[in-house]
Each structure stands twice: as structure tokens, then as C-alpha cells.
Amino acid sequence: MKTLLAGAAIALMGLTQTASADGHANYPERPIMMMVSYGAGGATDFQARIVTMTAGNEDALGMPVAIINKPGAGGRVGWNWLAGQADADGYTLGAYNVPHFIAQSIKGGVEYSTASFEPIANWGADPAVLVVGADSAFNTLQDVVDFAKANPGKLTTSGAGLFVGHHIAALQMEKAGDMKMAYIPTKGGGAAAMKAVIAGDVMAGINNLSDAFRAASAGNVKILAVADLERNEFLPNVPTMMESGLAVDNASVNFRGVMVPKGTPQGIIDKLAATVPMMFENKRVAGKMKAGGSPMHIMNRDEVLAMWAAREGTLKELLAGL
């Protein structure tokens, strides 16, 4: 038995050696797993499933990508796992949400930072938007700002939690407008925050563009402004916050993409970085994403590296006072 085991071990070592000797030309040789740190049915999970559905095609990775959900604590559980426990062998990918994981790593209490991961490519950008109920007296961003300035700390504004894009946008709005809002984080994520706006529990809300777009087309909310650098293709009539006179940039935009744990062989990272953006550009993927109201924004590895670094700087400054 012992010799058998030893033999198997040697054979395995031989296998891994041949695999790395040829510069990972045959990668991937088996299906790949992608960890999503939010539950099944959430926006990140939903989009991750769409953008990876063509992975098995010959012109993409040639192997299917299986989504595995590790939800909990606003994404911390999944990212802790990816940074600390996942195998860095190229067969374990992870989905990232910026600014969430960067903000969490700045606030501490987690086992990861931007240095723990290597980005591969970005697939989506979901800006934060300011919404009010359909029958609200507010009709423009200026109305909201005027109210907040006249009544410091009285403007109740719901969002999906602390240190997520919604919270960052609220902090930026307060800073830019030199005003005080009452940010109300909800436990049930964006859906609960949206419910609070529609039901009139709060006066305003900051939510994902994709979810707000659905709620607005159902006639339940008004979207007053987008926290991004330019107007969004889904909402050509909604101004950006900057256009409305509030100096809020795109630091709160929820970027979603693929990364791998640090230590993944460079050959595999290069191969993934070359193929994955092309996989995202597939027409079927784009069609499904558009139908689901999810804005796409494809970025390659270098662009994502630059974006992460820029975000980290902005967030450190913004969260320093908290």
C-alpha cells in the first residue's frame, strides 16, 4: 500500500512538473471554479453566471467555469477564503466587487488587501444612483441638497450596508455638498434598501443603477442623479452628480470582475488576462447582460490594476475620518 501511495505521489509530482514545464500551454485541463462572495440570485452571482456561460467555447477557455457561492458578512467570508485558503493553481478564480473589498481591507478585520489578489479582467460597472419615492417632493438633486443643507442630519437615506459603494457615495455627497445626511444601512442588501425607499420608510436612497432602473421602469421610484463620470446608456436622461453641481466622482461605482489569489503561476495569469476579456465580449453575453439591465464595462488586467490603485488612494482618504 505504501509503495502504491508513494508511486502515486511521484506520478502526481511528475504531472505537475510537466504542466509547468510547457509554460501552461495546456491550461486549463479541467473545469475551473469561480468563487462569488455573495449568495445565489444576487446581482454579482447573476452577472458572474452570465459572463462565464461561454467559457467552454473553443475560442474562450475551452473549459466550463462553475460558480461557487461563499456568502457572508458583506463578502468578507468569501474573500477571506480566497486570500487564505484557496489553491493558487489557476483553477480557483474569484469575483471581486470594488470598492467593497478595498474599503473593507482599509477598515481592517479581514485577511486580505489588494496585494492578496491578482486581477484578471473587469466585466461590469454598476454606478450608484440617488433614488426617491415616485411621489416624493424632491425632483432634482438640487432639491435634495437644499433640504439636507437646511436640515442637517435629517435626510434619511437608505443603502445596502457599510463600506459598500452606496455608503461611499453617501460619504462623497456629504463631503462635496458640505452637508450632513442620515445614512441608514440595511441588512437585506440593496433590495431591502430599495424597499425602504418605495415604502416611504426613508426620504431617499442610494442604490445600484441596475436595480433602480428596474424599479423606475415599474414606476415605483424617481432616479435623480448618477454617481459616475458620464451619463449611463440605460438612463440617458438622468444627469451625473457633477452635472448637477455636486463634485462626486466614480469612486462609488461598483466594478465587478475576475481575480485570482496571489501566487497563481504567472503563465496562467497571462493566459487568463489574454482570453477572459475576449470571453466577456461575446455577443450572447452582451445580449443577456443588456436584457437583464446590467451595464457592462470591460477592462483588461492593466486597466484594472490602475483602477484598484486609484480606488485605494481615494478610499483611504475618504475613510480616514471614520
Binding site: G39, A40, G41, G42, D45, F46, R49, I50, M53, I68, N69, K70, P71, G72, A73, G74, R76, V77, N80, W81, G84, K107, G109, E111, G153, K154, L155, T156, G161, L162, F163, A182, I184, P185, T186, K187, G188, A191, A192, M194, K195, A196, I198, A199, G200, D201, V202, R214, A215, S217, A218, G219, N220, K288, K290, A291, G292, G293
Partner: protein
């Protein structure tokens, strides 16, 4: 009456076979401990990518309906609730199975599930616009009082002594605080990475209910050869129907409570069964028999948890807000086909909307038919020797708790809580109040903090939490519930003997 027009679509060969597939598959998945309705629906989502929108939703709707009912199978035969919705089913259902009435319990549970379920879907069909307003009426202060109402039930639930019930409720409330708190950003009682996300309710459920059973079975299996399997008497379906009709009050209370509570976003599904169980106990003339295998308790619990299915979809279908995790998964199933729930769904895709709703109606009936067939076979399951059964249940428990979030941490949590519960049970504590504390803790806490944040920013705490007709109504029920329990406790006061305390 628009829905009748689309009934034909449910019976096309492909749609109907998908409906059958979803129903049978759902029953099997639901009966597996740890596979909650949410997970079952999530597992099926990738299959719907290839189907047309209506077909995909038929599959998902049928699976949702029948997993909720299927959870009763393991709750009754093994005392392991498949999902939080089935906790109340274990109380009388498993007691009936121990008395040899397993088949009867299963038949009653499927029949009352069908009655509750059909009523819930009819509500969805006819009253959706009205119900949508009602679902929105519950703000943080109301949800807080609702959770407190749930807390008043804890003491009297499945326990010989109110004090022990309250104590295990407190353990549950404490366990619920573990993890990262999303509202205040605090970390509480995290001593190990597996606890970072808090205690997962499904993993806790499996541990608390299944592990003490497994340990007991192993202990018994050592003493004898395990031939002492549960006997199951055959029970004619006709008498089961008659039995259900005799308990109209429990059926009515269960169905109504389930429909009303199921509507409330974020709360409904988990506590509908328990609240219905408690209410029918309070209104019953045989309240002493509850917990000893009394059909009334089983009927109330099961009719409630299926009645909740239809109304729980109201916030999703009308307002595009998923009110429960399962609804969130269904939302994904709609979006993948480019259909936005809300007015878009009913105005532009009535064929999808009504075919989906109709298939849930037919699904309830199919679920009942297949369920009754399963009940007939229950005898064979119960004849498995205990030592083998223990191994099977242990395997399922590990599999179930791992698969919820693909996390080994959840398996550790399940095992730890299970061993703890084994010893607690030996001292007369029971699992149901503990789980109820675990479920209600976060609801009460987060809504209180949110409410107080809103209140301090607006008109102050007292007017926010005590003002408004709905708040006052809920507070009144809380007060009545407390006084009623205290009165009943005093009236039927038994001085617990020392033997009973030690038992």
C-alpha cells in the same frame, strides 16, 4: 379572470412535463435535510438558461412549491426540518411518527399543504394589487414589534417548563449576534474564521435537530441489534381527508396566518409555520395535546408554510423587490430572459406571468398527489435499522450543512451546536425555541437599530415606535399574547417535580 385564458399553456406537453419534473424533483430535494427551497431553486437556475422564459419559470415555481412541502418528510420521519419553515412540523409530526402514525402524519401534511398552498396562490391571482400595498406597510418599527411578538411565543414552544424555553431562546438570541454586523460595522464573538459570516440558519437547524437524534440512535444501536424500528401503520387517504376536515379551525388559522405573514418582505417564510402553530394552540380546546402528536398542530404548521408561497412572491412580481432569498433567486431567473418583474411583467409578458402563476396552482395539486404516494412508501424508510439510519442521517447532515455555502466552517458549526444540543436535551431543553431565537434575533435587532436611526433623524424614538395604528395593533397583540401565556401558565400550574427537572 385573465389567468384562466392562460391555463392551456400549462398543459402543453413540454410545459407539463417540466411541471412534473419540477414537482417530483422538488419533493426529493425538499425531503433531503439541508436542501432548502432557496438552494433547490438556485440549483435549477442554470438549466433555465436554455429554456424559454415561461418554461424556466414553470420549473422554478414547481420546485419552490414542492420543496416547501417536501421538507415535511424529513421533519416528520427524522425530526430534521429541511428548512426553517418546517420547524413547527417536527413538533407534532415527529411525535405522531413515533406513535406509528407516520403515514397518517405525512398524508395530513401534504393535504393541508395543498389546501394552504392553493389558497395562497389564489390570493396571488386575485388580490395582488391590494397585497402589494400591505407588504409595503411594514416598516422597521412594525417588523421590530412583529419579531417581539415572535419572542413571546418562545417560552411556551415545545417545552415542559417556560423557564427552560426562555433560556434556550436566549441561547439562540446570543448565537444570532455572532459575526460581522452589517449595520454598525462591528465584529462580534468571532473567534474563528468559520464564524465570520455568523451562524448560518440552515447549518444550525441541521445540527440542532439531527445530531442529537444521531447520537441517540447510535447509543441505542449499541444496546440492541436495531430491530426496534418505528412501526408505521397504513392509513387510508379517505380517513386522512376526513381527519383534516375535522380540524377546520387549525386549517383556517394556518392558512390565514401563513398568507398574511408570508407577505411581509424579509420575515415571512421562516416564522409563518411557528406563529400558526402557536396561534392554533392558543385557540384550541385540546391545547395540552400539542406536542404529543396532535394532528391539529401538524395541520396548522403545514398549511401555513405552503400558504406563504403565493403571497411571498407578491413584492417580487408587483414591486420588483425580492422579499425572500428564494424570490431573489427567481428574480435572477426572470432577468436572464430580459423580463423585469413589475408592470412590465403583467403588461408585456402576460403569457409568462400567468403561465407561471397557473403552474404553481396546478403544482400544488400535483405535489399533493405525489406526496400522498410518498406517504405510502414511508413505511419502508422507517424500517431501516437505527444503527444504519444514524449513519445515513449523519451523512446527510454533513452534506446538507456543507452545501449551503460550500463551507467546511458550516459543518463545524453544525457539529458543535449538535453536540451541545444533545446535552441540553438531556436536561429538558428543546431545539425549537433555540432556533426561533436564532431567527428572530437578527430581525428584531436590525430593525430596532434601523428604526432608531430613522427615528433620531426625524421625529424621535417614542412617536416612531409607538405611533401609528399598525404599531399600536402589533403592541396590543404582544401584550395580549404575554398575558394569555401568563394566565394559562398560572391556571394550569403544575409544580415540576425534581425528577422532571432532572429528566
Amino acid at each position: 379572470m385573465e389567468f384562466i385564458y392562460y391555463f392551456g399553456d400549462v398543459f402543453t406537453p413540454i410545459n407539463f412535463s417540466l411541471l412534473l419534473l419540477g414537482t417530483i424533483g422538488g419533493l426529493i430535494l425538499g425531503a433531503t435535510p439541508g436542501l432548502s427551497p432557496t438552494m433547490a431553486v438556485a440549483l435549477l437556475i442554470p438549466f433555465t438558461f436554455q429554456l424559454e422564459a415561461a418554461q424556466g419559470l414553470i420549473l422554478l415555481g414547481a420546485a419552490y412549491t414542492s420543496t416547501v412541502a417536501g421538507g415535511a418528510v424529513s421533519a416528520i420521519l427524522l425530526k430534521i426540518p429541511g428548512a426553517p419553515a418546517n420547524i413547527a412540523t417536527t413538533l407534532d409530526g415527529h411525535a405522531m411518527a413515533l406513535k406509528g402514525e407516520g403515514a397518517k402524519a405525512l398524508q395530513l401534511s401534504f393535504l393541508s399543504s395543498a389546501v394552504g398552498g392553493v389558497f395562497g396562490v389564489l390570493l396571488l391571482i386575485f388580490l395582488t394589487p391590494v397585497l402589494a400595498k400591505w407588504a409595503l406597510a411594514f416598516g422597521p418599527s412594525h417588523l421590530f414589534w412583529l419579531a417581539i411578538l415572535g419572542v413571546t411565543v418562545i417560552g411556551s414552544l415545545d417545552s415542559n417548563s417556560v423557564v427552560k424555553g426562555l433560556l434556550s431562546g436566549c441561547i439562540g438570541l446570543w448565537l444570532a449576534t455572532i459575526g460581522f454586523d452589517d449595520i454598525m460595522g462591528a465584529q462580534r464573538f468571532i473567534f474563528h474564521p468559520s464564524l465570520g459570516g455568523g451562524i448560518n440558519i440552515i447549518a444550525a437547524l441541521i445540527g440542532l435537530f439531527a445530531i442529537p437524534q444521531v447520537i441517540t440512535m447510535f447509543a441505542k444501536g449499541r444496546k440492541n441489534d436495531g430491530s426496534e424500528a418505528i412501526k408505521v401503520q397504513k392509513y387510508p387517504i379517505k380517513s386522512a381527508i376526513a381527519e383534516m376536515m375535522r380540524n377546520k379551525r387549525a386549517l383556517g388559522i394556518g392558512t390565514l396566518t401563513g398568507s398574511i405573514i408570508g407577505l411581509i418582505p424579509g420575515v415571512g417564510g421562516q416564522i409563518a409555520g411557528l406563529v400558526a402553530y402557536d396561534q392554533s394552540k392558543k385557540f384550541s380546546s385540546d391545547r395540552d395535546k400539542f406536542g404529543t402528536g396532535h394532528p391539529e398542530g401538524l395541520i396548522a404548521a403545514e398549511s401555513a408554510n405552503n400558504a406563504m408561497v403565493g403571497p411571498s412572491l407578491v413584492p417580487l412580481l408587483t414591486l420588483s423587490i425580492p422579499g425572500s432569498p428564494t424570490a431573489a433567486v427567481l428574480l435572477g431567473g426572470l432577468l436572464i430572459h430580459g423580463i423585469f418583474p413589475g408592470t412590465d411583467l403583467f403588461d408585456n409578458h402576460p403569457d409568462v406571468a400567468w403561465t407561471f402563476i397557473n403552474s404553481m396552482l396546478i403544482g400544488q395539486i400535483l405535489m399533493c398527489i405525489f406526496g400522498l404516494y410518498v406517504a405510502g412508501m414511508a413505511a419502508r424508510v422507517a424500517q431501516v435499522p437505527q444503527s444504519m439510519m444514524a449513519a445515513i442521517v449523519l451523512g446527510l447532515a454533513v452534506f446538507g450543512s456543507y452545501s449551503v455555502q460550500s463551507s467546511m466552517g458550516d459543518v463545524y458549526v453544525m457539529a458543535t451546536l449538535g453536540v451541545m444540543m444533545y446535552f441540553l436535551e438531556r436536561f429538558g431543553f428543546s431545539a425549537a425555541p433555540l432556533v426561533l431565537g436564532l431567527i428572530l434575533g437578527p430581525i428584531a435587532e436590525s430593525n430596532f437599530i434601523q428604526g432608531s436611526m430613522i427615528a433620531t433623524a426625524t421625529d424621535g424614538l417614542a412617536p416612531y415606535f409607538f405611533g401609528g395604528p399598525l404599531n399600536i395593533f402589533l403592541i396590543a397583540i404582544v401584550v395580549v399574547s404575554i398575558f394569555y401565556s401568563a394566565y394559562m401558565e398560572l391556571r394550569s400550574r403544575r409544580y415540576t417535580s425534581k425528577e422532571e427537572i432532572m429528566a
